[in-house]
């Protein structure tokens, strides 16, 4: 009996075809996708498809095919792409998704629906906004870099490591798109046409699912990240600590953050929300030509100076954020969680620009290199 059933099973397996096979060799892998909005409301989708050829022994040669199609929806644009290429289009391993500025300012949620709905997709593609058209970014052919997808994803990864961005991937984005009281910031890239390169401009601030047009410039992004409590592998600042020296270089101090501790306290008193963001940084000085940092007094003075400078910058950042009405600190969510009654009473979108956010940064030099 057992043998019979095994026979039947084997026959079934052999006779019935292979329903769901998706041969890896038969797909066109799309590694980066760019979306742009046209004036008539339709979408332009630009995809970059690397094709690798391997001669039996020699090195692999990689050619990149870039296609641009239009459609009413992302999915329709994709179908149009499919009609142009050999084999089938597969975005499940997409590394980067770029959005043109126009599109981002409108609404980005509809773009991503297809990624969330389809179980095949990896949700770890990075997203970024391009200052201008996403198509141009994807059509770039950066010299000395293998493929635009790899270039952009590694560029973004570099920013994460250097504490410039959160490493926003589609999965994380999903919650932030949907949840009221949480906004987010996405890397903003600009195209340098002369060098055929991209440049990390800063973090584009979003409100709900649209780009506000405001962004935190790249020299302040590290501080923003630290204020959110995120630190990459490396976080460094170069600050002007004095004006006294003649040689301009001597006025600056560069340090690296060794340890950061961030704490946010949200209070609701008399229907007034106040948020205190305090942060303690333990740093290591990596460049400071003017002084050898031998005296305790000097260090104390520097600590104070640096704290002041950073607090000042933090205030600037917060002002930008409130102006953009982009609650990247998730203060709204805190209010929702811990002060639900107040949350129900107010419209957070209207409330956020008016709340008081006070940052406080304390810096403590703990290391100053191998010379002293």
């Amino acid at each position: 009996m057992k043998r019979k059933s095994i026979c039947i099973l084997t026959c079934l397996l052999l006779l019935t075809g292979c329903w769901d096979t998706r041969q890896f060799k038969d797909v066109k892998l799309v590694l980066s996708i760019g979306f742009d909005q046209n004036d008539d409301g339709t979408l332009t989708e630009t995809v970059s498809i690397p094709t690798v050829k391997r001669s039996t022994d020699g090195p692999t040669s990689e050619t990149v095919q870039v296609l641009t199609t239009e459609g009413k929806t992302p999915r329709e644009a994709r179908d149009h792409t499919d009609q142009m290429i050999a084999n089938t289009f597969d975005p499940s391993k997409a590394k980067v998704i770029l959005m043109g500025e126009e599109l981002a300012k409108n609404s980005i949620q509809p773009i991503f629906d297809q990624f969330y709905r389809n179980p095949n997709n990896n949700l770890n593609a990075y997203i970024a906004v391009v200052d201008g058209k996403a198509e141009d970014a994807i059509r770039m052919t950066p010299s000395n870099e293998s493929g635009v997808s790899k270039y952009i994803s590694e560029l973004l990864e570099g920013q994460i490591n250097a504490t410039h961005s959160t490493g926003e991937n589609i999965e994380v984005l999903h919650g932030e798109l949907l949840e009221p009281g949480i906004d987010f910031a996405v890397p903003l890239l600009s195209i340098e046409e002369e060098q055929d390169m991209l440049n990390f401009e800063g973090l584009a601030l979003f409100h709900k699912d649209a780009y506000t047009g405001e962004f935190i410039p790249n020299h302040q992004t590290t501080l923003l990240m630290l204020l959110e409590g995120i630190r990459g592998k490396l976080a460094s600042f170069t600050l002007k600590v004095t004006d006294e020296e003649e040689n301009a270089i001597r006025n600056y101090l560069t340090f690296r953050v060794m340890r950061n501790k961030q704490d946010m306290k949200v209070k609701v008193e008399n229907d007034q929300v106040t948020a205190d963001i305090s942060m303690k940084l333990k740093i290591r000085v990596v460049e400071y030509p003017s002084n050898h940092l031998t005296s305790k007094k000097k260090i104390k003075k520097l600590n104070k100076k640096l704290s002041e400078l950073l607090t000042e910058q933090a205030e600037e950042i917060i002002a930008t954020i409130q102006e953009a009405n982009s609650d990247v600190f998730q203060i709204g969510r805190h209010v929702h969680s811990y002060h639900p009654d107040y949350w129900k009473k107010v419209k957070w979108d209207e409330e956020f620009p008016n709340i008081t956010i006070t940052p406080k940064v304390e810096v403590d030099i703990v290391q100053y290199g191998v010379i002293s």
Partner: protein, 511 residues
Amino acid sequence: MGFLRNLLGTRDKIEDSSHKGQDQQPNQPSSKKLSENVEYLLNEFKRTDDLKIRAMNNGQAVLMYFEPLVDQEKIQQNIFTPLEMGHVEHISEIPNARSSENLEEMIPTLLRGHAVYMEDGSKTITRFNVTSVFNRNVEEPQNEKIVRGSHDGFIENLMINLNLVRKKIEHRDLVVKYFKVGKKTNTNIAIVYMDGIADPEIVKKMEERIKAISVDMIQSPGYIEEFIEDNPYSPFPQMLNTERPDRVTANIMEGRIALMAEGSPTTLIAPSTFFMFYQASDDYNARWYTGTFVRLVRLASFIIAIGMPAFYIAVISFHYEVLPDELLLPVKSSINEIAYPPILEALIMVVIIELIRESGIRLPSPVGQTIGIVGGLVIGDAVVRAGLVSNLMVIVVALTAIASFVVPSNELSTTLRLMTFPLIFLAGTFGFVGIVFGFLFLTIHLTRLESFGVPYFAPVAPLSISDLKDTFVRLPLFMMKKRPKDAHPLQEKAMGESREWVQHEPDNNKN
């Protein structure tokens, strides 16, 4: 010597009882006339030419024996020398002579290589043991070599094999039981176990099953295995196969039963479990860290051997999303131009490897090397260059083959390579889901299997945590105080406190 005679006594008893079962005990009283006796025997042996009849005493007596079976020197030494020297009056007084009056009894005796002496005018027939023995040396078995430890191995002679075991277990509880199996071949087989440790239920089961065998010919334990194992339809070997005396004695001491047969160096051990096939004598001779490491590698090889091609196929034809970004393009570039679907690729490669293995196995070693070169280098390289098979698939299948050879037991290794096929099909049809179903069937099968009423997949299912000490890992021997439970030993304790001296030497702790 004393115990050997003792053994011979037992053997005759069992022999008789087993004969009873087959036919009525044959009895042909000898006649006083020599010619009648000779004629009877000649007829019984169909006048075969190698039955030598040597006339003595001017034709008054004959000495009969099978020429190929006897040792001429022994005849000279045991029969003629005492006669010539005048130590004895009559031939029947020679010390190792035995007498009988039953002609029929002489037939198996002659076949065993004895010489029979008959005299005219006397009913008494005297027989002498003058069997010639040709033996190999007890050298290390080719397929179970180890680095450290004893290098002897069983040979084709049952007595010598038993001798090796007895030498290793000098204890009164070691019991050997003889059986004769095969109606025509009359092969001697023996089961060996420790009385008081081995479970009598299992011994009884073993005896019953051996007695139930009714065939004309038994060649080797491999033959017997199929008659007595619990589930002959299972692809997994249910009795451990070994040629190493140290392995056999270790298993006997765990309460298992060894089954040996005349004419074969292979010993079967029952009841056995799946994980026994992954233990090698080397594990116990090495440091326990290395022993553990090697054993983990071996068990990992089980997964690789049966799952690797299936996993690869599932990945590249269903779930390529699981490839990390760095691997994506290298993998794609290597399979992009391949003509066949991966499942066919895998089948081609697996079959090629089996062909190479099978053709190389019986060839003399100089030719065997050629096969290795032709197979490994020429085909392996050419098949990739021709674009029939991707180089990744070659790596995967080669790794699978290597992993399957890691198993210390040849039987299981073959089984493993066979098990890849259904998994390849399942993976090619359902991807990961198929692999999971394949593994489910496999583990359920292993859990259901029993070897002599003992669960085959012990100590994992049923779980016995104390026995895991010698399954996935090999902990220090002094920590394995109990015998594994799967063999149902009567005596659980295998050792006492053996390292008590540590407490008496306080200095040791400091250093």
